[in-house]
């Protein structure tokens, strides 16, 4: 295993920078006078080509960051948009026009309690986050929008990020045997839809179980769940 450096909150991080190149600090690191201090516990990561440093840690509370896909639940409607709960400290705003093909005459009509898959458009510590169900540049929905049927469940943020990576072992193992759709929100919420309730529950349980398993164990676990189901 390569040099894995674990930091605790308050540790001073030595980035060995010569003070000239621009250093980018990601989540978990903050500049304090001339030092760089870790604010969360976790593994220190550095990317040498973009000179970015961050602390990777697993937690369940989501802090909105721009550009991330999230699954939210509509909790209210007011004036120009919807208020959507995405699990962060404040509810997010979803403007009525932030949908594909929406105009002043043709606005979407979401019920209270509807689930949506959206992208975080604006997120900073001073304002409520804003989300959108459309790509602002192309005008296409690109998979975002209201989610129909299926089931939504919660998981940790680390698991959600792993599911979104291209080589998620549990999703690949499930996809080899079952047909299903899934929308993963980085806020720790996942939407799943399969052919029947039993299949959906199987996918949900498989994803939940895969939190601490490596890829070989994932394949084994999925196989066991499928065998037990068809008996």
């Amino acid at each position: 295993m390569a040099n894995v450096k674990v930091v605790l909150p308050g540790d001073i991080v030595d980035t060995q920078s010569d003070g000239e190149a621009v250093l980018r600090l990601g989540p978990g690191l903050v500049q304090h006078n001339d030092d760089i201090q870790a604010t969360t516990g976790g593994v220190l990561h550095a990317s040498s080509d973009t000179n970015q440093w961050w602390v990777g840690s697993n937690r369940r509370r989501y802090v909105a960051a721009e550009g991330e896909p999230v699954v939210g639940v509509v909790v209210g409607r007011h004036g120009e948009g919807y208020r959507v709960d995405i699990g962060s400290a404040h509810d997010a705003l979803l403007p009525l026009l932030a949908f594909e093909g929406a105009t002043k005459r043709n606005k979407p009509n979401l019920a209270i309690g509807a689930a949506v898959y959206a992208r975080v458009a604006v997120a900073n510590s001073m304002m409520d986050p804003e989300i959108e169900c459309v790509n602002a540049h192309t005008g296409k929905s690109e998979g975002f929008g209201e989610l129909h049927a299926g089931f939504v469940f919660r998981c940790s943020l680390g698991l959600a990020r792993r599911l979104l990576s291209a080589s998620s072992p549990v999703l690949a193992a499930l996809g080899a045997e079952l047909a299903y759709e899934a929308a993963v929100g980085v806020n720790g919420r996942v939407w799943v839809k399969a052919g029947s309730p039993e299949k959906t529950i199987l996918v949900v349980n498989a994803i939940r179980n895969s939190e601490h398993l490596d890829s070989r164990q994932c394949k084994q676990m999925v196989k066991e769940l499928l065998d037990r189901q068809s008996l």
Binding site: G113, A149, E198, I201, V204
Partner: protein, 272 residues
């Protein structure tokens, strides 16, 4: 303050759709309990219960006080349960307790106090002057659904696990022995009541041991309190859709089977 997070419409309709086929969202059978884990702590009378995601901590302590004037020969059992925002975002301990908090607290108080599980006559030291006050504190650590069942198991296990200091009465004098001098003695418990809670979703759909999502979706809930002697101590139904006598009988029969399992687990945990 963060208000309670309501589940989405998708979650509710999926739950009801699956229940119509007799399947529960977490893969359990409709009359299955979640994994119950009871750990009796290092101190006597400290018990933590995990029922699936729900975690409850019960703590029993005692002190010597004056008895109530109208009951000079009986000890006192005091009960305290608080739902704080540690267990779920909707609970706020600073404001007025919500209807659900009051319901859970009153239910547990009935189970412990009014079912006379603890022998209060045995708590008397000197009639009219000194009696033991046994205090049970329940802390809800995590709300994963069905707080009442988990808390009732925790409370009764803690009472059975607890040891009070030994007392010798010599005429008008009572000597309370330090726990290091003489082994502390257990409380005298008449019987072990436990709660079994059912959730209803309309049209004869009923499950045992509701998870949090099921609890937020249910239209009615019904709690049966039984002890190991197969006696019904209490029935509790607060609001919701009406139940027929046949349904109530069926619930009691199922609860009778489950109570034996629960009692066995409590016995095992206390022995350790």
């Amino acid at each position: 303050m963060v208000a309670e997070i309501e589940p989405s419409n998708i979650e509710r309709s999926f739950l009801l759709e699956s229940l119509e086929k007799g399947i529960r969202v977490d893969g359990r059978g409709i009359y299955d309990y979640r994994t119950l884990k009871i750990s009796c702590g290092p101190t006597a009378g400290l018990v933590e219960v995990q029922l699936g995601q729900t975690r409850v901590l019960a703590r029993v302590s005692c002190e010597v006080t004056r008895p109530f004037p109208d009951r000079p020969t009986e000890g006192i059992v005091q009960f305290n349960a608080e739902l704080s925002s540690m267990c779920a975002p909707g609970f706020d301990s600073s404001g007025k307790p919500s209807a659900q908090e009051v319901a859970v607290t009153r239910m547990l108080e009935r189970v412990i106090r009014q079912s006379r599980a603890v022998d209060t006559e045995a708590l008397c030291i000197l009639a009219g002057e000194k009696v033991w006050t046994v205090r049970i504190d329940i802390h809800f650590l995590d709300h994963g659904g069905n707080l009442v069942d988990a808390a009732s198991v925790a409370a009764i296990a803690a009472l059975r696990h607890f040891r009070r200091p030994d007392v010798t009465v010599d005429g008008e004098e009572a000597i309370i022995h330090d726990v290091r001098e003489r082994n502390p003695v257990p409380l005298s418990i008449h019987h072990t009541p436990v709660c079994v809670t059912f959730g209803f979703f309309g049209e004869a759909m009923m499950v045992l041991d509701t998870s949090l999502l099921e609890e937020q979706t249910q239209v009615s809930s019904f709690t049966v309190t039984l002890n190991s002697h197969r006696e019904v101590c209490a029935l509790n139904k607060a609001g919701g859709i009406p139940l027929s006598p046949g349904q109530i009988q069926r619930c009691i029969q199922i609860a009778l089977a489950k109570v034996d399992e629960l009692n066995e687990k409590i016995q095992e945990a206390i022995k350790q």
